[in-house]
């Protein structure tokens, strides 16, 4: 259900194929899985009876159950090595690693959590689902255990692993969304500088169209790439806290959000997207990433994992190379937000309620600057531990890391920050606006209804 960008970023094309799936899974499902709705419920009740083994820690012996989704190298190997090193230093501690594919992880975790259990340490993206897991009593408050060293981490995305001021997990990777553009196509349309304001941006779109270039590639079928535009406009117009405030007050029908939605419609009315974008996905051979990677569209609004996907889905398998540039989402005239307020997400780990105390020590080790440097050097993660950034080799990733580190505020992907029913509604409603099937008023009303439900 979640974008698991970084952990697969540098993987094979097959692994990359599964990237960026948002909460909208595109995995084909057989009719059998439909039975799952009834079946999973029944299954949960049955499973509830068994499997109550906890990682007991009597006499220094402890078993840490670790589920993660970095099931391809380089992170698969890096995590394995980290676990081996930790076990060598801590006799009596056994780390049982279960690397899972993204979809498999979600269904396995759902089954286990429905029975009231959780692994000691498992992949998480923080936000709304983490909060639901806390509500269900599945996670452990680790605030006291990490207070001495949490200051080593970049503060930017920490808040999404907190519920009511308490930590239940930590990120190991963070990134952001911005515009990735083709320098040659911009030059062809006589655009010398990347647009810095919304007006300049709309002008750039017009110029690109006039030059016979598809301005923007979009995977409308996946929906989540669409919600990036709405979220960023909301942040730029209403300010960094406007979206979280709207969610907290369950009031999305505010003047600022209305302005943002109307501005978005201005963009859509220019018809900036490729032909058939409503049926296009992000990560298919004729999808969003492929169009930019093949030079068929001038730009896309996407996360830090965009360049590697452009390469993976391009015909040359190498993407745009040094023709690729990055610029942050432009500012909006008269808006309260800053260009340095960022929107995006990364990966992290949550700690299960019955985790042995050594789990937090292990988490600390995973976030150790040396382990983080290894991940950063492999190109698979954008590190969160201070002092690991300079291990990043890719110039585009360096730009992203720099922008993240200099950011003034951070908003997590809405379909991860909020409980799924609201996040999905945002995706659905913004896509309706895009398809010309809903007015800005109606978009906000639908989101409001979902938030109140």
């Amino acid at each position: 259900m979640f974008r698991d960008h970084r952990s697969r970023r540098a993987g094979t094309p097959t692994a990359a194929f599964e990237l960026g799936k948002g909460q909208l899974m595109t995995t084909p499902i057989s009719r059998r899985s439909l039975l799952g709705l009834a079946g999973a419920t029944a299954g949960a009740a049955l499973l509830g009876a068994c499997g109550d083994d906890k990682g007991t820690d009597s006499g220094g012996n402890a078993t840490i159950e670790w589920w993660h989704i970095s099931n391809t190298d380089p992170m698969l190997g890096i995590w394995q090595q980290a676990a081996n090193d930790f076990m060598a230093k801590n006799p009596g501690v056994t780390i049982k690693i279960t690397p899972l594919a993204n979809e498999a992880f979600k269904s396995k975790l759902t089954t286990v959590t429905q029975s009231g259990n959780a692994p000691s340490l498992f992949s998480s993206w923080g936000g709304g689902v983490l909060a639901q897991q806390v509500d269900a009593g599945l996670l452990k408050d680790i605030s006291a255990d990490i207070s001495s060293w949490v200051g080593n981490l970049a503060p930017v995305s920490l808040k999404y692993y907190q519920v009511d001021g308490k930590y239940y997990g930590l990120p190991f990777d963070s990134g952001m969304v911005g515009f990735w553009y083709n320098k040659d196509l911009f030059a062809k349309a006589n655009i010398t500088n990347p647009p810095a304001t919304w007006t300049e941006f709309l002008d750039a779109v017009r110029n690109l169209k006039a030059a016979g270039v598809t301005p923007i590639a979009l995977g409308g079928k996946d929906k989540w790439p669409t919600h990036f535009y709405w979220s960023y406009l909301a942040l730029r117009i209403g300010g960094a806290e406007s979206l979280e405030a709207a969610m907290r007050d369950k009031n999305f029908e505010t003047p600022d959000l209305l302005t943002a939605t109307q501005k978005l419609k201005e963009l859509f009315d220019l018809q900036p997207f490729q032909k058939g974008f409503l049926a296009a996905t992000y990560d298919k051979p004729d999808g969003q990433a492929a169009l930019v990677g093949n030079g068929k569209a001038a730009m896309e609004l996407m996360g830090q994992f965009a360049p590697s996907n452009q390469a993976a889905f391009s015909q040359s398998k190498s993407g745009l190379g040094d023709k690729l540039g990055f610029f942050p989402f432009p500012s909006v005239e008269g808006g309260k937000g800053k260009v340095s307020d960022i929107f995006g997400g990364g990966n992290g780990f949550a700690v299960g309620k019955d985790a042995p105390p050594k789990t937090v020590e292990f988490l600390k080790y995973l976030l150790d600057v040396e382990v983080q440097r290894k991940g950063a050097a492999s190109g698979a993660i954008l590190p969160v531990t201070k002092g690991a950034e300079d291990a990043i080799k890719d110039p585009n990733q360096q730009v992203v890391a720099k922008t993240v580190n200099e950011s003034t505020a951070f908003q997590l992907y809405l379909d991860q920050a909020w409980e799924p029913k609201v996040g999905q509604q945002v995706n659905d409603s913004v896509t309706e606006l895009l398809a010309g099937k809903a007015t800005p008023d109606r978009v906000l009303k639908s989101i409001n209804n979902a938030a109140k439900r």
Binding site: M1, Q23, L24, M25, T26, P28, I29, S30, R31, L34, L35, L37, A38, G39, T41, A42, A44, A45, G48, T110, T113, Q114, S115, G116, Q132, Q133, D135, A136, G137, L138, G220, K221, K223, Q274, K275, G276, F277, L278, A279, A280, D286, E419, P420, K421, Q424, Q425, T431, E432, A435, K437, R453
Partner: protein, 347 residues
């Protein structure tokens, strides 16, 4: 025919007989009832207590499995449909029939019903006649008809998912085969963004489903046509019936039972449509090709509104059940006559 007289038999018929009255203790338990053959009833006899034991032993495994795998999940889904629940244990809240009230106001769900109806009408008026026509054609002694039969049946062998992936490529707006062919034969104006246009997507989906399933119905009709004895057709010809008259008054009525079953299968299949549409469009753009099953999936596994998704599944179940019962009662009735052992002789 007194209904209580056949009740023992009725109960022994298993779950399907559940609606029949229970055996009255006075007859079933009394020694007088043992091994008595009521003369008026043509061979039915009362069961001994040993017979009951046998029935119980043989029936229990089936009943248990049926209960566990069919009844229990339905009951659980029915219960879940009364909850506001995000899927995590302990967070459920009982809200009565609220989910069903919301269902009636949900534009997407009401739209599902409308789209389902369109697909059903199209299936019955386009897909089945097409299959029937092909079946009759392939019944003619034409050269290479075995090849044609295999060819037309081949799509049915493919999985729905594979079919959908295939057509995703065929209908792709930029490089898709459909548009390439259309512009190749000078019909470029007909080239459309088939799957991304909200007004064409449902019909694109219908074409894909028809491509997948017409072979199946064709084989059904072909088998039925071949079971019509040649003598009857000859007799009609001798009586001076034209080709159309033979079809209208001989072939078609004799194909009746098969056609009625085909309509039944087609409608039930449409109500439950999921795989192909999910892979092809995920119900989009903007719900324009969404089916009930897709709406259920999206609420259950994307929005994690498990209670509401269960309400949709219950609605789907009831719609299918009511349709199936009515159809069997009123349409399939004459086909069942004589083929099914009916309690008490005649209905």
């Amino acid at each position: 025919m007194p209904r209580s007289a056949d009740s023992a038999f009725g109960a022994a018929r298993g779950p399907a007989g559940g609606v029949r009255p229970a055996p009255s203790p006075a007859t079933a338990g009394s020694p007088a009832a043992v091994a008595v053959v009521p003369p008026a009833d043509g061979g039915r006899r009362w069961l001994s207590s040993r017979g009951w034991g046998t029935i119980l032993i043989f029936l229990t495994p089936a009943l248990l499995l049926f209960g566990l795998l069919v009844i229990a999940p339905i009951a659980l889904a029915a219960y879940t449909s009364l909850l506001d629940w995000n899927g995590f244990r302990g967070t459920e809240e009982f809200i009565g029939l609220e989910n069903f009230r919301r269902l009636l106001e949900d534009e997407v769900f009401v739209g599902d019903l409308r789209r389902g109806l369109i697909l059903i009408v199209l299936s019955v008026t386009v897909q089945l006649p097409l299959a029937l026509g092909l079946a009759l054609l392939l019944n003619q002694p034409i050269r290479g008809r075995a090849v044609y039969r295999v060819m037309f049946f081949a799509p049915y062998v493919l999985a729905e998912v594979i079919t959908a992936v295939l057509f995703q490529m065929v209908l792709s707006p930029n490089a898709g085969l459909a548009n390439q062919v259309l512009s190749g034969i000078g019909l470029g104006g007909l080239a459309e963004e088939w799957l991304s246009n909200t007004s064409t997507v449902l019909y694109a989906v219908f074409v894909v489903i028809t491509w997948k399933y017409f072979g199946f119905y064709m084989i059904l009709f072909l088998a039925a046509r071949q079971s019509i004895p040649a003598e009857i057709i000859e007799a009609a010809a001798v009586d001076g019936a034209t080709g159309w008259n033979t079809f209208r008054h001989v072939t078609l009525p004799l194909l009746g039972p098969t056609i009625r079953i085909a309509v039944f299968l087609s409608i039930i299949g449409t109500i439950q449509l999921f795989d192909a549409v999910w892979v092809l469009t995920e119900g989009g753009p903007v719900n324009a090709s969404e089916t009930m099953a897709i709406t259920m999936y999206r609420y259950g596994f994307e929005s994690f509104e498990v209670g509401y998704a269960s309400a949709i599944s219950i609605a789907m179940f009831l719609i299918s059940l009511v349709f199936a019962l009515l159809y069997q009662r009123f349409v399939l009735r004459r086909d069942m006559e004589g083929a099914v052992t009916v309690i008490g002789g005649k209905r």
